[in-house]
Subunit: 200 residues, 2 copies
DNA sequence: ACAATCACATGACATTTGTCATTGTTGGGC
DNA sequence: GCCCAACAATGACAAATGTCATGTGATTGT
């Protein structure tokens, strides 16, 4: 019997996933979490075989939770995500997750993937893996990503500078290089593009 | 037996929802759709009792699909959404939907809600309904919303003007009034705010 | 030890923006 | 009929923004 922890902030989705997986005779859900912090705590308490985590989960995202769980136990992790971009996959793999499943995967496949991972294999969505290999990597530096993240809400240069503790001029330089790298004409377009690509 | 159409662009979620609902003896899923256009077509072909539509669904959103389905048959609609804001509820109700369910609803409630709607009642999430009554309505005019929608991707004034077929100066005026109404200092902040509120 | 590189910063400059005043049309509501 | 709101546009002005050249410490590579 494979023991599972399911974590997703949306109760409806989480409940539906549990219903789906409980239909399988060799799977059982021993814990449910609605937040990343609960996921870490319940993983510690219940020691499931596999934790199925949604990537988009407050307060810290599923990736952070995955790293934390992996750091203290050998529980295998399967990340489920809506936002299946190559950049995210890269970060997930370096965090040591065993499975990477976009929400576009047919529901019937999920149980099979869980069994695969339980057997010690890894599963990565083939489409994403392919584009991760062909698509070019994120060309932005850490600082560029940081200022772009801060621009997401439409903040002014001054506000961004205050947020990241840099001089306004420096912020403008980082934004300028980021815009040049992304081939767009404003930081807002750059932030939008970087978000689409899964880089921020 | 209540016959259902389930529409959600994410295969995993859709499959999980089907599994959840098929557990109930008095419910059966007769059709599944992954796009809003498929949803409209399948509703026409299968004539289910109730259509459960995800609000976030390409190419046109679930609201558009709901309007179209209602315009040609008395099939009842339940909208499921991640983005449960009062503004969205308002639009949904005027489109004639019978149920409005945020994804934060416990999974066990969904079947009950479906039975309620099948019995001719309406269901609206109480939390959202409450805030829809207290929170202030969207203060923006149609044109203001239109230019804000076009700003979402970080486009320049000229690009927005081309998109909405207006003079650049006019676009600036609309954006200016929208910014004033929302109390922010840039169109990007305004677009972000309007999006957060579920207005665009 | 020396250059090369990087992270951070400044100042000057042209362009893009947001603001405001003003004009005009249209369609409802009272 | 009158008033008001939404819609459409123009011109002028100040502030914000993006670009570029340049400079300074630190770190790194050889």
């Amino acid at each position: 019997m494979i023991r599972l922890l399911i974590a997703d902030d949306e109760d409806l989705i989480r409940g539906a996933l549990v219903a789906l997986l409980e239909l399988e005779e060799d799977l059982t859900v021993t814990a449910e979490a609605a937040t990343s912090t609960d996921a870490v705590r319940l993983a510690r308490e219940h020691k499931p075989d596999i934790a199925v985590l949604d990537l988009e989960m407050p307060p810290a995202d599923g990736l952070r939770a995955a790293e934390e769980i992996r750091s203290e136990s050998p529980i295998k992790i399967i990340l489920v995500t809506r936002h299946a971009r190559p950049g995210v996959l890269r970060r997930a793999l370096s965090a040591g997750v065993s499975g990477f499943v976009p929400k576009t995967t047919p529901a019937t496949r999920l149980a099979e993937i869980i069994r695969d991972v339980a057997a010690g294999r890894r599963y990565v969505d083939p489409d994403i893996a392919a584009s991760a290999l062909t698509e070019d990597d994120c060309p932005l530096s850490d600082r560029e990503l940081e200022v772009l993240r801060a621009s997401r809400t439409g903040a002014s240069i001054r506000e961004i500078a205050a947020q990241v503790h840099l001089a306004p001029g420096t912020v403008r330089n980082y934004l300028s290089t980021a815009m040049a790298k992304l081939g767009v004409g404003s930081r807002h377009a750059a932030a939008h593009r970087a978000w689409e690509e899964g880089w921020i």
